[in-house]
Amino acid sequence: MTARISSQRYAVEDFQQALELCYSRGWTDGLPVVPPTEPAVRAMLDAVGLEPDAQIAFITNRQVAITAEKVAINAVMAGCLPAHMSVVVAAIEGIADPRWGYHGPATSTGSAAVLMIVNGPIAKRLEFNSGDNLFAPGWRSNATTGRAVRLVMRNVIGTLPGRLDRGTFGHPGRYTYVMAENEGESPWTPLHVERGCRPEDSAVTVMAALAPHQFYNQLSSTAAGVLSTLCDSMRYPGQIGQPNYCVVLAGEHMRTIAADGWSKADIRKFIFEHTTNTIAHFKRTGRLPGAVKPEDETATRPLVLTPDDILVVAAGGRAGSFSCYIPGWASRTSSEAVTVVIKERSA
């Protein structure tokens, strides 16, 4: 690959000066970045077989073309290995998909982060964490791929906090929010296969997501028992008409639910049916306008439009009677989860 890298170059004396330049230009997320040198950026591009000027995506409302070169520079800065580049590219394609609706989740006071769920052979090969401490620091693949996406949002698309990103609270997941599904131990169909990919595909699902909410059930030995606790936790914080929820079932709960022979479809159906709220509840708690009418006491609304809007993922530690759910951002018409096949360069 010989096409020219066209980004402006800055001469620096040493690593420290490079780092301080990145800080002073506002190019970092607050943490130190790896200085993006041409050889490192070339290695990123070579790993996916893309020319520097290849367009990965176009963000309409910003009129910004995201090129492979800019993605590669930001991936280097985030600490990615060249092998991670294909995951970052796929995630960028996902958040630029009109169904994801970039402007809303990137800009809104509602403070969504980009949840990335990695499936398929690449997850194991690159050692994406799918187990203990699922959302915690310590795994390079989880830490750097999500960080690279956020740096692209910041540096390429202009999603700057306080300017075009007006999140009221922001979100710790905006540093990185990446997990893999524990396909090795899961008894269920992997998420990407449920969403139309082949089992041998690697894929990343991006969802505009709020924080994970953990729940605890150490008493139940049945699927319905465990999921009853989940539903009780999920239904009340629910906003009106969120597009997706992601339910992450960790080892103990996974085994209990699987032992009852429940599929992911069974899980989704149960959750969908047990998380409805009455219109009266929504009105009393300030989530719908108007006075409570007698018929509001029996009229109900589901948490999401259909059971398929609940993404069920097997992941998290093997021990501990905990699982979690992750609410999506806003509404179905504003943003929905998108799954993108990760295009790896054939050797």
Binding site: I5, S7, Q8, R9, Y10, A11, V12, E13, D14, F15, A18, L21, C22, R25, W27, P35, P36, T37, E38, V41, N61, R62, Q63, V64, A65, I66, T67, K70, I73, N74, M77, G101, H103, G104, P105, T107, S108, T109, L151, N155, V156, G158, P289, A330, S331, T333, S334, S335
Partner: protein, 95 residues
């Protein structure tokens, strides 16, 4: 470590000219379009604005369109319809 070069990770958005149509000197007799963004009470707020523009500023009429959701621009049908049927547009947010 010897000196080296680093690459700029940012990009400038594509610049495009944006011109506003001339503002009318008066709303007297003008047809007013209201673009509602689906947030709670944005329709009520704009309806009230439409009434004020008619009663106090002499606008001839006010009509309202509803966007698909608050995070997207007004869709093409609204824009086409507004071009044909109104002289000025008020867009609002209900937050």
């Amino acid at each position: 470590m010897a000196g080296f070069e680093i690459l700029d990770p940012t990009v400038e958005p594509r610049r495009q000219p944006l011109t506003y149509v001339p503002r009318p000197d008066s709303l007297k007799g003008k047809r007013v379009g209201l673009v509602e963004n689906t947030k709670f009470n944005s329709d009520k707020l704009l309806q009230k604005i439409g009434e004020i523009l008619k009663q106090e500023y002499g606008a001839a009429e006010a009509r309202m369109w509803r966007k698909h959701n608050s995070s997207v621009p007004a869709h093409q049908e609204i824009i086409d319809d507004a071009k044909r049927t109104v002289d000025v547009v008020v867009a609002g947010i209900g937050d």
